[in-house]
Symmetry: C2
Subunit: 327 residues, 2 copies
């Protein structure tokens, strides 16, 4: 197969796009602010201008456009190609992005949520290249999950993506906005880390956290807690240590339920992955004798901010590739 | 496709076999004691005689044998067709059952564990007929799980079956033989129900449990606890109620991680399903707003003791059917 694949990563503030060959070579990449508040029509035009610009840069290759894939901040309806109503893109309600793109570019288009598409990127050209059963976990403000089986995103009934971040791992835990007590996200996410650190300040007046947050507890986030932990702050180390144990527990359940070859970790909190890896290693070593969990490979994502555009390009390639038309 | 499919259910005490058409009609069924302690060679001969007998019964149909599928008490290695070393079949160590069967019958054979095969039976002709994403849970002495996607058993790395019964749902819970604290099986299985009921006897001398167990606490099992609960015994109702809440919590996690169309429940404890259904109903209604969990259908298995032979026949059919040869 020859031609150009476009992968788009539509975020709350930026839209990024890349042009790829079917072999996974990135020919060009660019980004602009989406300025979502100006509404979906203007945002769509900015997205199209960005893609047109990439296509003119790659025109010297003389290749035709095979299709446009988009990973967008959710929720999206991947089956109908519609951006549903993301809190992060105010006013973008029921935007039929795939229909708009296919009309504008006269080429196939595809839309899915950013986490699912980023996992495909790592499968295609990143840390999970060619892995038969790949489970991707993004640990940031929340916890996002995506399971990729033979290069395809696993979907549940009605095309819905599972919500692995909201599995319950300790019913005595805090109430999450999802309605459950002690779900994974409520115990191990960046938000949980920041919240627990703020709550612990009273008992640890000697902590360096407040100084790192310039005296404002409201500014404490997971990045600052991780920084304090790396500097040896005992409050921060305690908070991160507990979050790491809960993070390992959630991964343990993924092993018990999916037993993938590889788990790929990404997200802002994973920038301090050295604080989490010891707990994950203990979990893998101590897990059930019934599954050889120590053989499971837990890896950090490799594509960074580009995982979304790689994955979006791969997703549309799967759809236009003849041998995958049935899938 | 025409011909005869043989499905075999190899248990700790009995081996059952059925002859089926590719359309799912059961033509004949029979069973004998396996007498496992006499060793695998004698057991194999009993199995073969049983199958021969079925074939002679169905010979009037004039159809050739398409293949023999077997669901066996585990662990088994489905990739190599070998019974590994089941505690329930003492002395059956590294038995190459598929090779033996293929030589004896000059036809393709297939082996998998009993829980996986029973789930396929419910997919083929039972409560989950034709469901795209089916999750089967057996609640008995332990908790067994199997995920069937488009009629194929989901397997993890190295062909291993996931162990959904050992997902952790309350890390403050009891230590399981699997090595984890508070896994699903340790909190909601028939074994957990019996253990919790015995432990609660001291505080409930008025309970009818002891009488139902003929005065011997060692005889209390989940069936007796369920019977006492149905008669209104408060100890038994409390124990079953807590187990039902934990059972619902584990199912909640399956919804979050797989979001199947249908969950099929089977196993001895489910003979008292009316004691569990209220907790499951509350879980479905109260679950996260991010997935339409109230649309998920939780059903009781329909094939009873025959789910294994149906599923084993279906599994071998999938393997010999031309359009599935690649799977």
């Amino acid at each position: 197969m020859s031609g150009i694949l476009i992968g788009v990563d539509l975020g709350a503030t930026m839209v990024r796009a890349g042009a790829f060959t079917p072999g996974g070579e990135m020919l060009a990449v660019d980004q602009v602010e989406i300025e979502a508040r100006r509404g979906p029509e203007q945002g769509f035009q900015r997205l199209c201008n960005l893609v047109e610009n990439l296509l003119s840069q790659t025109a010297l290759h003389g290749e035709r456009l095979l299709g446009v894939g988009v990973g967008s901040t959710g929720p999206v309806d991947a089956l109908t190609g519609v951006i549903v109503n993301p809190g992060t893109l105010p006013g973008w309600e029921a935007v039929p992005l795939v229909a708009w793109l296919e009309k504008y570019f006269s080429a196939p288009a595809f839309l899915d949520n950013d986490a699912a598409v980023a996992a495909l990127g790592e499968y295609w050209m990143g840390a999970g290249r060619g892995v038969a059963r790949l489970y991707a976990v993004t640990l940031g403000t929340g916890i996002g999950t995506s399971c990729v089986i033979d290069g395809q995103t696993y979907r549940g009934a009605g095309g819905f993506h599972p919500e692995g971040g909201h599995q319950v791992i300790d019913p005595g835990g805090p109430l999450c906005y999802c309605g459950a007590h002690g779900c994974w996200e409520s115990l191990a996410s960046g938000t949980a880390i920041a919240r627990n650190a703020r709550a612990a300040l009273v008992k640890h007046p000697d902590s360096i956290l407040l100084r790192l947050a310039e005296g404002d507890p409201g500014r404490i986030d997971a990045r600052i807690v991780a920084e304090a932990a790396l500097q040896g702050d005992s409050l921060a180390r305690g908070v991160i240590g507990r979050a790491a144990e809960y993070f390992a527990l959630g991964l343990f359940n993924l092993l018990m339920l999916f037993f993938p070859e590889v788990i790929v970790l990404s997200g802002g909190v994973m920038h301090s992955s050295e604080l989490f890896m010891p707990a994950l290693g203990r979990m893998l070593q101590n897990a059930t004798p019934y599954l050889p969990t120590s053989q499971v490979d837990i890896r950090l994502a490799q594509l960074g901010y580009y995982s979304g555009i790689y994955g979006a390009a791969y997703a549309i390639m799967r759809r236009v590739s003849p041998h995958d038309l049935g899938s």
